[in-house]
Amino acid sequence: MTVEKIYAAVLDYDDDEVVELVTAELAKGTEPQVMLDDGLVAALDTVGEQFSEGTLFVPEMLMAADAVKAGLDLLRPILAESGIKPIGTVVIGTVKGDLHDIGKNLVSMVLEGAGFRVVDLGTDVEPEKFVDAAQENDADIVALSALLTTSMAAMERAVGVVCKANENSNLNVRIMVGGPPVTDDFAEKIGADGYGVDAPTAVGLARGFIQ
């Protein structure tokens, strides 16, 4: 099974090998959805599990996400042509006043690898921008990141603005938050729907939200 080879190439963090295998499989007529689900997404889930268990680390997560992205870049146009949509849309950004983006980028990459469409607003994002982007992109989820303890107030404000838009407009998004100073208790207190301690947990949360 060559889909298994794609799975193995992601676990070897070998982007070139992934591109070669996916290209060859497409030529043979293998279903893109099968390559995506059983090759790329399955491999990223395996890496994510080992990351959460503490046997793999941030670089392995980044390298696996790179390999998955190399494959996705080939598969995405074909999936789109055949009318297959992403499993959901996530608007993500680091809250106002905070420029840190490493954790947020990692979560974005892993969400994309898991089949989500990700709209990344970058860092230092005004609360209203999350609402606007969610409306424009018909998003399912808004994901907020903060690194500084002093950014936690900005996170609370942003969650408040998105919640209010959920109540007062046609917006219907779930909100997840993450970052070093954030805890489950804090997430609950400010009205977020979930907290992801790491990137794989964030993917699990996002999958739960769209079911």
Binding site: Y13, G54, L56, F57, V58, P59, E60, L62, M63, D66, K96, G97, D98, L99, H100, I102, N105, L106, D124, L148, T149, T150, S151, M152, P180, P181, V197, D198
Partner: protein, 381 residues
């Protein structure tokens, strides 16, 4: 136990001897000081009205005034190198390029972040690409201007432990030049490049450390530098990779320092760094900062038991929970707990976990330092 002078107290603790009270650091390194807004609150609380002096490179951090150091009986003093002269460029009020070619941008709260550098965005860099960086000169006079005089004056002003702050570390400097994520991937995929990168940075670092220690001529007790090797959950990269790639470089850097002068080495890494503590002992680190006790696998009880008499701990009062969110009584209880536990047999210098953040109430800062200076540990009887 007889009263000790500050320098003697700090060095005794770092030599794993018990002291009359716990030694205290405040403001002696760029990661054991205070966010300027919290400092302004602290001045008000103490009825002081001097002008706040900021750390030049990191404009959001304040240097505690001598009146405050005296008020809290702080045992350590901050000594820093000067600023590199030439090759920097102000882009606008909120961004600049440093002497290594890294672009820094300021966030709303004053925090500067690196956003571009000489090796950013390169796919699979090679050893020969190292020439793309305009390597700064370790003999640049700006680093050493006035350093000897400042060190001498500090020594003359009282019997304190003087901490020389190195302007950069190893891992961080790699990240500033290459980008955070790409550097991590290079450790696995571009080993030749990353080895050369660390070689160049460490050669520069060693030369600067040697020059600075020579200039200070015995008026330095501790040399400080830092990296970040861990996230709150786990080491940032596999400890095996640390051992293979980074540890030999750390060993060369610290070995050179200790061959040059009789100083202790204080090393900073946030996060869940426990799996590398044995390695840090190997390479000659005397004390580890900031002891982020809320991170995974960093429980102070376990650290003390496992590394007692081999690694000192410097920091440990939780900046993410008890300091911003607790009452002054809770802060005092936390200080007592840490002093009793970590100070027994020496090996502990008290400070917050990392810089005191802007959301810490002044009453809690006062409670932390007042309790540390006045608490009489049961082991000191």
């Amino acid at each position: 136990m007889a009263a000790m002078a500050s320098r003697e107290r700090v060095l005794a603790a770092l030599n794993f001897q018990e002291t009359d009270r716990i030694p205290i650091d405040f403001g002696s390194t760029i990661v054991t000081t205070i966010y300027y807004t919290a400092y302004d609150d602290l001045k008000r609380e103490l009825g002081l009205d001097h002008e706040t002096v900021m750390l030049a490179k990191l404009k959001r951090l304040a240097v505690p005034d001598s009146a405050i150091l005296k008020r809290f009986d702080v045992d350590t003093r901050y000594l820093a190198l000067g600023v590199y002269e030439g090759d920097q460029k102000e882009l606008d009020d909120h961004s600049y390029i440093d002497e290594w070619g890294t672009t820094w941008k300021q966030a709303e709260d004053g925090h500067f972040l690196f956003v571009d550098g000489p090796f950013f965005g390169m796919k699979k860099p090679k050893h020969e690409d190292l020439s793309l960086c305009n390597w700064p000169d370790p003999d640049n006079p700006g680093y050493y201007r006035g350093l000897a005089e400042r060190a001498k004056a500090l020594r003359a002003s009282g019997d304190k432990a003087i901490i020389l702050n190195m302007p950069n570390g190893l891992v961080h400097q790699c990240q500033f030049l290459r980008g955070f994520g790409d550097w991590l991937k290079d450790l696995y995929k571009s080993k030749e490049f990353v080895t050369g990168l660390m070689e160049n940075i460490s050669k520069h670092w060693i030369r600067v450390a040697e020059n600075a220690l020579d200039a200070c001529d015995g008026n330095v007790d501790i040399l400080f530098f830092g990296d970040d090797l861990a996230t709150q959950q786990a080491p940032l990269f596999n400890p095996e990779i640390y051992r293979e790639m980074v540890k030999p470089v750390h060993a060369r850097m610290i070995g050179a320092v200790k061959a040059r002068a009789d100083v202790k080495v204080l090393y900073h890494s946030c996060g869940s760094v426990e799996p590398m503590i044995e390695d840090l002992i190997d390479v000659g680190v005397d004390a580890l900062n900031p002891v982020q006790i809320s991170a995974n696998n960093m429980e102070p009880e376990m650290l003390k038991e496992k590394y007692d008499g081999r690694m000192s701990f410097w920091g440990g009062i939780n900046t993410q929970r008890v300091l911003p969110l607790g009452t002054p009584e809770e802060v005092r209880a936390e200080v007592q707990k840490m002093v009793e536990l970590m100070g027994r047999g020496g090996g502990y210098v008290l400070n917050s976990v990392h810089n005191i953040q802007g959301d810490v109430p002044a009453a809690n800062i006062v409670a932390m330092f007042d309790e540390a200076r006045s608490y009489h540990p049961s082991w000191a009887n």
